[in-house]
Amino acid sequence: MHIPDGYLSPSTCALLYGTAIPFWYTAFARVKRLMNTRLVPLLAVASAFCFVIMMFNVPLPGGTTGHAVGVGAATVVLGPWASMLSVSIALLIQAVFFGDGGITTFGANSFNMAIVGSLVAHFTYRAVAGRTAVTSSRRVIAAALAGYTAINVAALLTAFELGIQPLFFKDASGAPLYAPYALHIAIPAMMLGHLTFAGLAELFVAGGVVAYLQRTNPALLGQRSAAGAKEDASPAAASGWKTTRPLWIRLALLMLLTPLGILAAGTAWGEWEAKDFSDAQMRRQITAASGQVAPPSEQPRGLARLSSLWSAPFPKYAPPFVHHPAFGYVMSAMFGCGLILGFFLFMGWMIGKRGSVDSGTSP
């Protein structure tokens, strides 16, 4: 699960660092707001705990043993935000000091295990545990399922990241430059081990810890307000998540579907370039797509003149410095979404400012 250096291309690593940073920032801001001056000791000791439990050997059925990441247990006790930070810090120390997991791939490992792992564990735990009492046996099952689901989703993400490498990154002879297995091999290979054995280690640790704490220290299971999310009953309300949830879900879905564009063949109707009119193959495509009506034999003069007026920063959806068009396509989609979000945030800010000025000046 800890991806070492050299398995992912630097561009994939950069993208995953970029994806992880907003989560780290939000988590840090939220935990700091709740914990105030307690932030430093809490994060330090909780990260040390996450590091140490990664070294525990958990006996599994069939006489094997496994190591758990502990993200399920950490999320249940600390809350998703503090867990995200603690597991990330533990992973950083593992990578830098003990060479377990790479430095370039630290963003990817944190994204898979700490960030997505904590969020998946949190939502699974809340969904299954519901409003049951802290000492309810349903909470044990909820924690166990949270750990199991979190680690399997993290494994699936890892497999996906490894599996897209040979698709995008090959040398001149066609040999894969990084992880060599395509998705159809990487996903079953990774998931087989995690759905059966490695997932069980996480399941036992998360379920076992909650069962133990219910017997000995149930207050700790209600500690989340002190250690992680302030009021667990409605973290959504505090973040404004509930009100904007449909918007974010749709945006996430659209961003996830972006790679479909890479698979589409041909050119979109009406999005031809001036030089396409003189290319025989493109002319055939245009004729076929236009109900067998042949395009004009020369490029329209107006089109030729206007097309030279503006050149896009990311021509063909790929910035000039990115050599692989498919990767550039995904990058452009992310950049585009960022620009649109930025624009709307700016507009919201302007409108809010005007509103406050208006209300301030009104009698």
């Binding site: 070492p4 250096d5 050299g6 291309s9 630097p10 105030n36 932030l39 430093v40 000791p41 994060l43 330090a44 000791v45 909780a46 040390a48 705990f49 590091f51 140490v52 439990i53 070294m55 525990f56 050997n57 958990v58 599994l60 059925p61 006489g63 094997t64 043993t65 496994g66 247990a73 810090i89 533990a90 120390i93 003990f98 060479g99 790479g102 430095i103 370039t104 040979p166 040398d171 002879s173 040999a175 894969p176 430059l177 990084y178 060599p180 297995y181 054995f197 490695a198 280690a201 640790v205 379920g207 076992g208 069962a211 133990y212 704490l213 000995t216 220290n217 700790l220 500690q223 250690a227």
Partner: protein, 277 residues
């Protein structure tokens, strides 16, 4: 993540061995960091700025010979920094070779391309692209791991952390990392004591579910201790006047040797980037 172990040591012994390994690794690094070698002489900030690009370029290079040259450079730096090659081989190269070799072995046969050889009995064909893919993966992983281990083995951990500020890491994060490292040893010792005391009370072998209960109960105890500890540490910090702001002493000073080595490393990194495109 799993390991077969029906007939090998019990789970308590194996966890104990992991804790001792971690402690041993840390003490060994402290010892090496005190030696008088090339990397030990350099300012920690210079080391980070010089070595991180080499790790990234080892991952970027699209030519095998460039990665091989970077690996040779890592070995040369290790020799100049009094890091015994036997230690590197045992602690880094063998582990990476076993893990990555195991991962990349099927790629020899599964990667499409012209066949260059076949296994005698099974008749599986090794493709040229498969061989190149396996070599890329192993060499990249070995080179990057060697550089990152060298960076850490030749610098006291507290200095690595302080030097991380050169990458614009917030001070509070540097302090948290430093404290985490310190409390890892405390919790490792706690876990070690817990497992040792349990081991001393066990006669015979525990069955699977009992072992599992013991392991998860230990995690639970450690979790309770962790929360208790964070409260104690906070009170200790408050009683010494901590009000939320953290400061780090920057006592590093660079000299001409640091700058000369930095220029050399950056030049090598640039050349490797240029030829590895």
């Amino acid at each position: 993540m799993t390991r077969a172990g029906k007939n090998s040591r019990g789970v308590v012994e194996r966890s104990l061995a992991s804790f001792v390994d971690a402690l041993e690794h840390a003490f060994y690094a402290e010892e090496l960091a005190k030696k008088n070698g090339l990397l030990q002489k350099l300012d920690p900030r210079v080391k980070i700025v010089a070595i991180l690009p080499l790790i990234v370029i080892a991952a970027l290079a699209r030519r095998l010979w460039v990665i091989a040259v970077l690996f040779a450079l890592a070995v040369a730096i290790a020799l100049l920094s009094s890091v015994p090659l036997g230690t590197l081989a045992r602690r880094v190269w063998l582990g990476v070779l076993t893990f990555t070799g195991f991962i990349s072995f099927p790629a020899l046969f599964l990667t499409p391309g012209p066949a260059i050889s076949s296994l005698p009995l099974l008749g599986w064909t090794v493709t040229a692209q498969g061989l190149r893919a396996a070599i890329y993966l192993i060499m990249r992983a070995e080179t990057a791991a060697t550089f990152s281990v060298l960076l850490v083995l030749c610098t006291p951990w507290s200095n690595v952390l302080k030097a991380l500020r050169v990458l614009r890491l917030p001070v509070v994060l540097v302090v948290v990392l430093g404290m985490t490292y310190r409390y890892i040893f405390l919790l490792l010792r706690n876990a070690h004591d817990m497992f040792t005391s349990r081991k001393s009370r066990i006669v015979g072998r525990l069955d699977g579910p009992e072992q599992r209960r013991a392991a998860t109960a230990s995690v639970g105890v450690l979790m309770s201790k962790t929360i208790q500890l964070s409260g104690d540490v906070y009170l200790a910090m408050r009683s010494r006047g901590f009000q939320g702001e953290v400061y780090v002493l920057d006592e590093f000073r660079t000299n001409w040797f640091d700058w000369a080595m930095l220029a050399l490393f950056i030049t090598v990194a640039f050349l490797a980037f240029w030829f590895g495109r």
